[in-house]
Amino acid sequence: MKNSNIPLSRYEQMLRAEEECDSITAGRRAKFYSPAFRAAMEALKPVHKTEAEPLREPLVSK
């Protein structure tokens, strides 16, 4: 039976940290996120509805 109280070595800690991360990534995300991915992310944001603009009088040209 493993003793969970044994402290992990630094190497094991680093491997554990790598495993726990969703993805091991670095980089400037702006450049290579596709429009489709950005649209998907935008769709996840809460929507703030704005009041519809009042209808304007139609322009009538004579």
Partner: protein
Amino acid sequence: MSIWLRNRQTGEQIAAQLELHVSKEQIAETECEWTGYRSSVPVETLSAIPESNDWNWLAKYEASLQGLTQFLGIRLEGKLQGMLQLDLVPRASRTNRYSVDHVLYVEYLETAPWNQKAYMDRHARFGGVGLELILGAIEMSVAHGCHGSLGLHSLPGALGFYLSLRFKDYGPDSSEEGLHYLELSPSDAVILKKESAK
């Protein structure tokens, strides 16, 4: 250069190769493999869309400045298990803004999708890929007169990983969409190398 990865299922150490010059052909082949793998995993099974889900390494290669950028990779079982794009033009360090210290900047780093928790949950295959790529970048930094110092912008999901590697967090960078900028100092690079010796 021989390095070691960890088989996450068996716990065994496995010999792999660190490649310091990944060619355009290798990048194109890898992009096909990684994209094919990503598309084989139904999006509805993912807990979150991985931050690098839409990255395209061939596009990164095409956009890079030839001769001033280098692509590193780790090969095992005939496939690249991770890639790192390194800017070879030294940049001013933020560790000591009054000194003339410089860092090499990691433009991009990504492990293969089958090594990522986001795709594989608890069945991710190989561990240590990110660590070994950073160790390779440290060697490049030494070779380019930056004494092992590195800088990078971490995507949010990987912040804990870089902090565990002794990178210092300089906080959100407004010029990079708020991504945290991190640096590894020369002294911490030396300690990291010692700690990583297996």
